[in-house]
Symmetry: C2
């Protein structure tokens, strides 16, 4: 994991939630969607296939844990999971709680409209709920 | 796997490529993007978390194999991987070869414009190349 640093374009739009075994878990600062990203702490990784098999398995289970936490915390209608990276190449995986009434439904959240920053209280409550729902 | 059938909205827009251990591999009939989907043969699954841990691990490795085949076959600039399902609930995972000059770049392919059906020759060549690139 030597040399890993978060891309400043990721830190600029997100808030640290916790460090998982492989990935940094961060909340995208957009109150329109409960939207988490996982950033594996692997220097230079841009694609899922850049990870070792063991790291891919760990990532898969971290995505699962985060998915379950978002489902139980938000009661969303659907999860959207994505690894795109067309703009920011550093490997990061989106896990987004979607609602049939949300601002982008049924389209994807990526590239949709303009983000709306959280109020501090709402942000802190969501982060606390997610941390509580994650397996310890 | 009892009771599994492909959603007709998936068969309507895609062409069968092969059956992997867990998933049906299909090509989206849109010549604008080399775009594959994996559909795990698990009746009723809508979210990745609906799969068992063993099936999730298998799916992760099938996504990896398909990703590597698309990378080597197309020489694309980036892979986009996504599990959305806002319109078609049956669990299906997109693996899309993206190019900096493609019709949707840098946005996502989902919901972008109108699909362009393949010419038969181009479709068959792409499928043959993908099958050749997949581990046997």
């Amino acid at each position: 994991m030597t040399g890993f640093t978060l891309d400043p374009r990721i830190t600029a739009v997100s808030i640290g939630v916790t460090g998982l075994w492989l990935s940094e878990l961060r909340l995208i600062n957009d109150a329109r969607f409960p939207w988490l990203i996982l950033v594996p702490r692997v220097h230079g990784a841009e694609e899922v296939v850049d990870l070792t098999k063991a790291d891919r398995a760990a990532l898969c289970e971290e995505i699962t844990a985060v998915s379950q936490a978002l489902l139980s915390t938000t009661g969303c209608d659907k999860l959207n999971i994505g690894a795109l990276g067309n703009l920011v190449r550093q490997l990061h995986i989106h896990v987004v709680a979607r609602f049939a009434a949300d601002a982008a439904w049924p389209g994807p959240v990526w590239g949709n409209g303009t983000s709306v920053a959280y109020e501090a209280e709402e942000r802190d409550r969501l982060i606390t709920n997610i941390l509580t729902a994650l397996p310890s």
